[in-house]
């Protein structure tokens, strides 16, 4: 992966940078030792590694502002970092850049049940917010699969999604306000107070900007009342096309499920072999449809969805009758990534979104590509919102297979764009899909985005080398690589 060429002047000036940082932070919060720096050399996209120039661990907004002012003055690049779980290389360091690690911003500052909000520091994990408010009957709705580890600051940077996006929205729909430090050390509040903020919606554009517009130091999130109950259906289908038409029928009936997940035959078999969740092995496609809300409503909708499934030609149908059973339905889906990982030494996860009606077409395209590249693929799919996660199976020890897997993946994403979809639904562009951006956007589209970036950060010091293609096109592209069946964060469910 080509990154911006390190600036020799900055490399040579490292002592002055370190001295400046030691004027702002205690010595133990400035990491300069090579071995200690190597801890930060990668994020969840482990194919790429680069030890940073220095790592800092501030714990106050004033420190962050001082660090940014210093970097601005010395023209040092900054890579903000939360838990480092990005699957797109959003936190990949630079040889001539400082890593601004936000791990010590780990406090829940305020919980406000009357206004249904909580104010937290960016290093708090996604799940910890829910844990802090659940005794009041609330939770924080966006639920990326890495939620036990990923931080809310990283969620803001990536506009993270999750299984429940269709009904509850992404991060940007669930954040009310942030405190942000600009590259020149100004501390701004975006979206403060009520629901509507003054001026342009800078909050809206900062969320999902992959750490390139400013450093967020405080976040006020919207809290959602916990649903009274949730139940799920497990429905098998004789073909991908019938499963896809079932998804359309559910939505067409005016029903927005809390989650609607699809798996194809290879994914069903892998999951069943791994966790024995009781999935129908004879099905070509499987849907898990979850409904949540008041018990009366959920029961009513379950019976309507059951009717639709029968009318669509489902080959099997089960409805959860207990919380235990509901979780069992999900067990196979949640284990899909490691289950697929058992079939192959390596696999590689993609993240495109398509209009749902194109699902049979895109699955056919993937099948053709699979034969063409001679690599197997299993598909799991956030069917409700059209977000596809094909898992390409390969063996990095076989010469040429890695390159073939990458080319296969790029072809899938191009096919997504071609049918009216997009390159990434929830993992972000990062370095991973940077060089595919011209497939989705024109030169003018990208230039307008760059112009906006320059309004925030004219010196392009914040997280350079991400999102935008470098000035010249880069042929080499890589994505979420899993070597020897080991995930970058093996304990995290990935779905």
């Amino acid at each position: 992966m080509e990154m911006p060429i390190p600036d020799p002047a900055v490399l040579a000036d490292r002592p002055r940078l370190v001295a400046g940082l030691l004027g702002i932070l205690p010595a133990e919060a400035v990491i300069v030792d090579q071995q200690a720096l190597s801890v930060y050399e990668s994020d969840g996209l482990t194919a790429y590694r680069q030890p940073p120039l220095v790592v800092v661990l501030p714990e106050t907004t004033a420190q962050v502002a001082a660090i940014l002012r210093l970097c601005h003055q010395l023209k040092v690049k900054i890579v903000p970092r939360g838990a480092g779980t990005s699957l797109s290389g959003g936190a990949l360091p630079l040889a001539d850049g400082l890593v601004l690690a936000m791990a010590r911003f780990n406090r829940v500052l305020a919980i406000d049940p009357v206004n249904r909000s909580a104010t937290v520091q960016p290093g708090v994990t996604n799940l910890a917010i829910t844990q802090a408010v659940q005794h009041l009957g609330f939770y924080y709705a966006p639920d990326p699969s890495s939620q036990i580890a990923c931080t809310i600051g990283g969620n803001v940077a990536e506009n993270s999604g999750g299984v429940h996006c269709l009904k509850y929205g992404m991060t940007s729909h669930n954040v009310l306000a942030v405190e942000m430090v600009t590259i020149d050390g100004e501390i701004l509040r975006l979206g403060e107070g009520g629901l509507d903020a003054a001026g342009y919606d800078l909050l809206g554009v900062v969320i999902g900007s992959e750490g390139m517009l400013g450093v967020v130091t405080e976040i006020t999130v919207r809290l959602t009342p916990k649903p009274e109950t949730a139940r799920a259906l497990l429905v098998g289908f004789p073909s991908n096309a019938t499963a896809a038409s079932m998804v359309a029928k559910v939505i067409g009936a005016g029903i927005i499920p809390a989650g609607m997940e699809m798996m194809d035959r290879p994914a069903i078999q892998a999951a069943e072999d791994f966790v024995h969740a009781g999935y129908p092995r004879d099905a070509e496609a499987l849907l898990i449809i979850e409904l949540d809300g008041p018990a009366v409503e959920v029961d009513h909708l379950i019976s309507r969805v059951e009717g639709l499934a029968k009318a669509t030609g489902a080959s099997s149908l089960r409805v959860s009758e207990s919380e235990q059973q509901r979780l069992a339905f999900w067990a196979g889906r949640k284990a899909a990534f490691p289950a697929v990982g058992r079939l192959s030494p390596d696999y590689y996860c993609m993240d495109g979104t398509i209009p749902r009606r194109c699902l049979p077409e895109i699955l056919e395209t993937i099948a053709v590509l699979s034969r063409q590249y001679d690599l197997k693929v299993a598909n799991v799919f956030h069917a409700g919102d059209g977000n596809l996660h094909p898992l390409i199976l390969y063996d990095a020890n076989q010469p040429g297979q890695l390159d073939a897997a990458e080319a296969f993946g790029a072809d899938i994403l191009r096919a997504c764009v071609k049918v009216g979809g997009v390159l990434t639904g929830e993992h972000g562009v990062g370095v991973e899909k940077r060089d595919l951006m011209p497939d989705q956007f024109t030169e003018i589209d990208l230039c307008q985005q760059r112009a906006l970036k320059d309004a925030f950060d004219p010196g392009r010091l914040l997280n350079p080398g991400k999102v935008f293609p470098l000035l010249h096109r880069c042929a080499e592209m890589g994505r979420m690589h899993v070597s020897g069946g080991r995930l970058p964060f093996p304990d995290l469910p990935r779905f």
């Binding site: 629901l195 919606d201 800078l202 969320i207 009513h300 009606r357 989705q440």
Partner: protein, 383 residues
Amino acid sequence: MIIEAKDPQIMAEVIAAAAADGRRLGLQGGGSKIGLGQPMTVDDQLDLSGWRGITSYEPEELVLSARAGTPLADIEVALAAQQQHLAFEPRNLSGLLEGGRVQDQTLGGVVATNLAGPRRCTAGAVRDHVLGLSAINGRGEIFKAGGRVVKNVTGYDLCKLLTGSFGTLAALTEITLKVLPASETEETLVIAAPDVSKAVQQMAEALGGSAAPSAASWLDGKIFLRLEGFGPSVRARRQKLTDRFGAAEVLEDAASRDCWQAIRDVKPFHGRPGQAVWKLSIRPSDAPALLGRLSELEEARTFLDWGGALVWLSLPAERDAKAGTIRQMLPLGGQGWLVAAPLAVRAAVPVFPPLLPALAALQTRVKASFDPGFILNPGRMGF
């Protein structure tokens, strides 16, 4: 001069030519919101209303695309035929604004002003439902942002930035919206609550509980809670609320819809010539104290929407419509917009909330990144 541009190519040429000559352009769709915002001085008006029509609507994808000049009414009719709707409940402010006619409201204007109705506190604003758009920046370049799918994080979310930018960043040409199923059933519970503190507390409790009202408003000493959804669910949730808050009057179907249309369109303040109408955005918990302070103003009338996060205020439009006093009264983080007032008053005071210097400087740089010559709707948002 009014320049009518029939398609984006011509619009882009007009804007590029204006940029080259430094001519200031006022962007206009149907003109229904001409009385909204800071009055501005322009050299020419660019009429965008000719570029209209729904370009695609796929109910099962929950996605609708339309040209920016499409009358909102056309979109609402198309959605209703499929039992869908715009969840953000676009407001119609023609009963308050000078010179605007409701039937002229266009999709472009709805997105440019981000004026969401009562469901904003549970379903989000216009900005939460714009999936993609095409637009022309102040350099006369046609660009797109976002996509035509409901889940997308590719590139910066320019859709949110452009929504509510009042035509000061770009001329919108086509917009893709997330649309949602309309509720099968709706009804409204009306609960007596003369005390505002108790009313805000009760609305917070309702909105934070499993009864999940889609809107909560307080008007004339009564709380209005709207329940929407499938019939059995609405009945069960009504029971929950009456168990908690006691007997309530119930407005069903058409009566409920009329009630929320009136709140959406700020009908309680219609027919008061010479008034100034303020929209104040605050935290609900700050509403009781703010209403107490506002009651000291002569002839002030107020009501609450969004569970108390929105205060509508009407008072006589004398001189500066008490802009300084009202903004002084706002709690920390609160913001005040002067929505409706005679032209002379709007010209005399900042209509949009004043910004702190660092934020104002950043916003000006953002403006310049789209419109470096400051030719699009100059001064409409105060800059």
